[in-house]
Symmetry: C2
Amino acid sequence: MNFKEEQKEKVEKIEAILREYLPEANGYQSVIMEAMEYSLMAGGKRLRPMLMMETYRLFGGETEVIYPFMAAMEMIHTYSLVHDDLPAMDNDEYRRGRKTTHIVYGEDMGILAGDALLNYAFETACKAFEQFPEESLRIGQAMSVLARKAGIYGMIGGQVVDVKESGHQIDEEVLDFIFRLKTGALIESAMMIGAILAGASKEDVKSMQKVAGKIGMAFQIQDDILDVTSTTEQLGKPVHSDEKNEKTTYVTLKGIEQAHKEVERMTEEAIDELKKFPAGDNFLEQLLKSLVYREK
Amino acid sequence: MNFKEEQKEKVEKIEAILREYLPEANGYQSVIMEAMEYSLMAGGKRLRPMLMMETYRLFGGETEVIYPFMAAMEMIHTYSLVHDDLPAMDNDEYRRGRKTTHIVYGEDMGILAGDALLNYAFETACKAFEQFPEESLRIGQAMSVLARKAGIYGMIGGQVVDVKESGHQIDEEVLDFIFRLKTGALIESAMMIGAILAGASKEDVKSMQKVAGKIGMAFQIQDDILDVTSTTEQLGKPVHSDEKNEKTTYVTLKGIEQAHKEVERMTEEAIDELKKFPAGDNFLEQLLKSLVYREK
């Protein structure tokens, strides 16, 4: 099986897990379950749960204790997109080629669907306690990382600065802060949780955090590049949005050539660090490389 | 010390705990910490953390493991108010006599402050794992209840139906559903977590859920009564808002006399159930009674 086939199979596996943990739509409140499913099952690379699963396997993890955390991670990522698209935020009507959640369900349900996904992420992760009570200590550690990296010292913190500085000229330090928190934090969380739940040492968890930090940075710079070089058809969302929003990006600060170089350098460093660990296959390495050459 | 003094002292204790767990405002994202503090420290009865603490004591709980959960509970309650007040929801400019969070910080930060409080609630509750790792199993159970009762099968679920049915005539069954979930679920959560963390039996946790359900119902009906009978000065928020929003309430369905009776009946039943447990003092009973006679 080549990389693309293997990746496709893994995406399918992840989406099956997501479906398993999605709530059934029933009760007077069923519209919210529908909105959650609409936004969660809209496709996407499933990068964060994939990195989590691969890291878990890398450290010898073998049980299903990782599943609720994989689902929780993608729910958190999705809620952030749903709220990001709201009229008071980026005011986007399309994402991944489909109408955004608040366009389909109304702005009030858009807010509530985001809230519901964030809350349900923790509810879902808690299922690990019920299924693997003997691993409560480890699960508690994973839960702490999940919460911290999604919050004001992680993703939300980055989002706040991104919103606050929108339309202002910012320097490299602030841009780096936004990248590390807004995009990097969840990717760090994914790989750290994979390592923690597999029983990795504190040192190895830190090592994964470092790898993930570089991947997150490379991924975000690549996003900035694609916003300039890609087409709306390829991306499934409007291009040149950064220019339209007068956003400072890595490309506006450093130029596209330097941006390309930085993505490659970060990716190489991440792969070098990963090579210290005896992985069963080189899927993870290929996955990281595919991020550099992706066109959407 | 009389009841009012004791209650005041307990509110002060709870607010000291909230301050202890609130994040310090620093970093590029400091505005979000300020918005969190603005909304969380806006006063209020602190009913949910108070019920949690009292239930914890009722079952012999003695450590500080309950503190992060008390703070988490109030953060969840507060985030729900912040999002509830948004223009796309109830569009309220005042709460507890002060400008609402989105009026002070802007609509984008209002959304993010709500998200931040919800996420930080779980981040805060997770601190119990770090401080009391030997109680991880119990803390995991409490975390599950916290998440479930705040989510689509709890508070958010009730909120969804409330929003969806706004302006429509609804029957008693739907109104009961909204009350049980929107208001009741967090109160159940508070008392269940108090019992769980104190090591109460499953049966006793269920008993507390029952008590809390009745308190929540009484509390919500009293809210409907006050919206009709109180003044804006007393409540610190506009009265007659239900009429303005053409909302079906317990008062519009059953009349004010029946509403009063129901509040008293529910409260009596809750107190009777509580009397089965050998409480150290009668503060909890007085607290429940004070809810019936409250004017705000």
